[in-house]
């Protein structure tokens, strides 16, 4: 999987690269519009992360450029601009997702995977890792073909975990993933905990294994051997 990160803030681009390298992706960086433009014309990428405000150009033009050369790459906009207009504009000209800074790397990872799956595993409706299987369109989950009866939130949670296997996932990022930015709840972590407890119980009941490891003080880790 080859990914291009177009982001002028070098540190942030490096962070993204470091996170994705562990996923086994090949990650290239472009710190400005010109480099990015050159790269998309020369190489083929599976997914491109674009910051809208670049020092020498607008990230939206880059998306137009991609469409002009009929690139099949998935496009995710990462922007500091949180306005609805920008979001709609970005999605209208053909980006697949829009993420507002500051974001959680684990969330970016989950979104990236979702985009890639939609783009490249079109016929394949399932998302399977070892004994775990999810059918996103139908919101169904299985362990070794035993169906899990999950609530909507528990399903979302499992999906998020399966996108970030063996990674430390903070409770903040889980809360944001489940309820969105608007959820300004002081004790939403209690809710995260309650959902995790239920998911863990349901999964253990079928497989006898505890997939969810608690990382004290930080969050959780979804373990698959």
């Amino acid at each position: 999987m080859k990914i291009l990160v177009v982001e002028d803030e070098k540190s942030l681009a490096e962070s993204i690269k470091a996170y994705f390298s562990k996923e086994g992706y090949i990650c290239e960086l472009a710190y400005n519009y010109d480099t990015a433009n050159m790269k998309i014309h020369v190489y083929r990428y599976d997914c491109i992360l674009v910051d809208i405000s670049l020092p020498d150009g607008n990230g939206l033009h880059l998306i137009n450029e991609l469409k002009a050369i009929q690139s099949q790459a998935g496009i995710i906009i990462i922007s500091a601009r949180d306005s609805l207009d920008d979001r709609i504009k970005g999605l209208n000209i053909g980006s697949d997702d829009y993420l507002t800074k500051p974001f959680h790397l684990s969330e970016l990872n989950a979104r990236l995977k979702a985009v890639i799956r939609r783009k490249f595993f079109d016929g394949q409706k399932e998302f399977q890792i070892q004994e775990l299987k999810i059918i996103p369109d139908e919101h169904l989950a299985f362990i070794d073909d035993h169906q899990l009866t999950l609530t909507k939130k528990e399903y979302d949670l499992l999906y998020y975990f399966m996108s970030n296997i063996n990674r430390v996932i903070t409770k903040e990022s889980i809360a944001e993933y489940l309820w969105g930015d608007n959820m300004d709840m002081a004790d939403s972590f209690d809710f995260v905990y309650a959902h995790i407890k239920n998911l863990r119980k349901k999964m253990t009941a079928i497989s006898g294994k505890d997939y969810i490891e608690t990382v004290y003080g930080i969050g959780y880790k979804f373990r698959l051997s």
């Binding site: 996170y19 500091a80 430390v168 930015d181 608007n182 300004d184 709840m185 002081a186 809710f191 930080i218």
Partner: protein, 418 residues
């Protein structure tokens, strides 16, 4: 008080005092003139009487009536000539009336007599009254005339001023353009006023735009370094953290970063609302939206044993920005859950006129009117950033909704009138 009313009042008091002073001066002066002329007439009359009596050669003349009396006196007892005002009964008027009396000694055929002649002053008093009344009438007429002419002149003179005032009132820093059109005028003071106002408005507008851009840019610029910090901490977390102390440090830093990011987003939102940047308004079914939101929040409410009830029989439609309507309901609902106690109650009543958000909770330790200020928070919630209600208030201000908070033990009540 209006300028015209104030001017009118000054003129009225000026006219009245002139009228009063003038009336007194006129009355006194006229009175003395009258007395003078009566005295003259009396002296003339005396001369006539004397010359008349001299020709008659009658000794020991003596007679007396209302207007005249003649009495012989001793040579030694002759009186000094004098004028005096007296009041005595008049047979003609059948009452006591004022007279001018002239008392003098005359010599007829070597015999001294005391002659007293009187003249009624009644007509003179009447005359003074009549003249005064006419004068007062004249002045009143003058005043009324002046009043109307003056109004007209004042209005015409101040017209450019009122026009300027009207234009300023219509000016809106956020929505109007660069400047205000001021009326042409040939009055220097108004020209100055307009020029200065124009200069001031341009300056304020420039500062306002600068500030607006600054707030927005600052918040935007903060997002990127925040992303960097957040991502770096996340990467550290992915490594092996052995010591428990390390984990605590990292998780504290991460939590604080998250809070900072939320705070920054809230401030940015507040700045955008106050800068009137949410311009797209559409008709929103508030009832539907409230039901959806309540379903989401019921989960949180249930976790704390709270009951969330909706009383929304009416289908309420409002013209609002969709996003702002969502923010409004989100903030109200999360507020109702946050500032509550275990097993409490939440009740939302939505009607065509208002939305009432009621929830149980402890008595607030801040004054109700301060509740909507930025960064005001009640002591028991350390987690909240204290901008939720400030944002609610800003949205209400934007749409000219009236918002009121009351505490009726044990209910916190926020009422928003549409």
């Amino acid at each position: 008080m209006k300028l015209l009313t104030k001017t009118r009042r000054y003129y009225l008091s000026l006219f009245l005092s002139i009228l009063a002073i003038w009336t007194i001066i006129f009355a006194v002066a006229f009175h003395y003139l009258m007395i003078d002329s009566v005295d003259e007439a009396l002296i003339n009359q005396k001369e006539l009487i004397v010359s008349e009596l001299k020709q008659q050669q009658t000794p020991h003349l003596q007679f007396s009536n209302e207007l005249m009396s003649l009495k012989p006196v001793d040579k030694t007892k002759s009186v000094a000539t004098s004028f005096s005002n007296i009041r005595m009964f008049s047979r003609a008027e059948k009452e006591e009336i004022p007279f001018r009396q002239y008392k003098t000694t005359i010599i007829i055929n070597h015999h001294p007599y005391v002659l007293i002649i009187r003249k009624s002053l009644l007509e003179h008093d009447d005359l003074i009254m009549t003249i005064l009344l006419t004068e007062v009438l004249l002045i009143l007429l003058l005043f009324i005339g002046f009043y109307f002419v003056n109004n007209r002149i004042l209005y015409q003179l101040w017209e450019p001023f009122y026009q300027t005032l009207k234009n300023i009132k219509q000016y809106n820093l956020a929505s109007s353009g660069i400047g205000v059109e001021f009326p042409e005028t040939d009055i220097n003071e108004f020209q100055d006023l307009n020029k200065e106002l124009e200069r001031m408005i341009k300056k304020i507008r420039k500062d306002y735009i600068n500030l607006k851009e600054f707030t927005e840019n600052a918040s935007h610029e903060l997002q990127t370094p925040l992303s960097v910090i957040k991502s770096k901490i996340e990467l550290i977390m992915q490594g092996e953290l052995n010591k428990e102390g390390e984990i605590q440090l990292i998780s504290d830093a991460y939590e604080a970063t998250g809070k900072l990011a939320k705070l920054n987003q809230a401030l940015l939102l507040l700045a955008k609302i106050e800068n009137n940047q949410y311009q797209q308004h559409q008709e929103i079914d508030l009832t539907e939206m409230l039901r959806e939101k309540a379903d989401i929040y019921r989960e949180f409410a249930a976790m704390r044993g709270l009951k969330l009830e909706l009383d929304d029989f009416a289908s309420v439609k409002l013209k609002m920005n969709n996003y702002l309507a969502e923010v409004l309901l989100n903030n109200l609902l999360s507020n109702s859950i946050k500032h509550n106690y275990e097993d409490g109650n939440i009740e939302y009543i939505l009607t065509d006129e208002s939305l009432i958000a009621k929830n149980t909770g402890y008595e607030p330790d801040i004054q109700p009117e301060k509740l909507f200020n930025r960064f005001q928070k009640s002591g028991n919630s350390q987690q909240s950033i204290g901008l939720g209600l400030a944002i609610v208030k800003a949205i209400c201000n934007l749409y000219h909704f009236e918002i009121r908070y009351t505490f009726k033990n044990p209910y916190h009540i926020i009422e928003i009138k549409f």
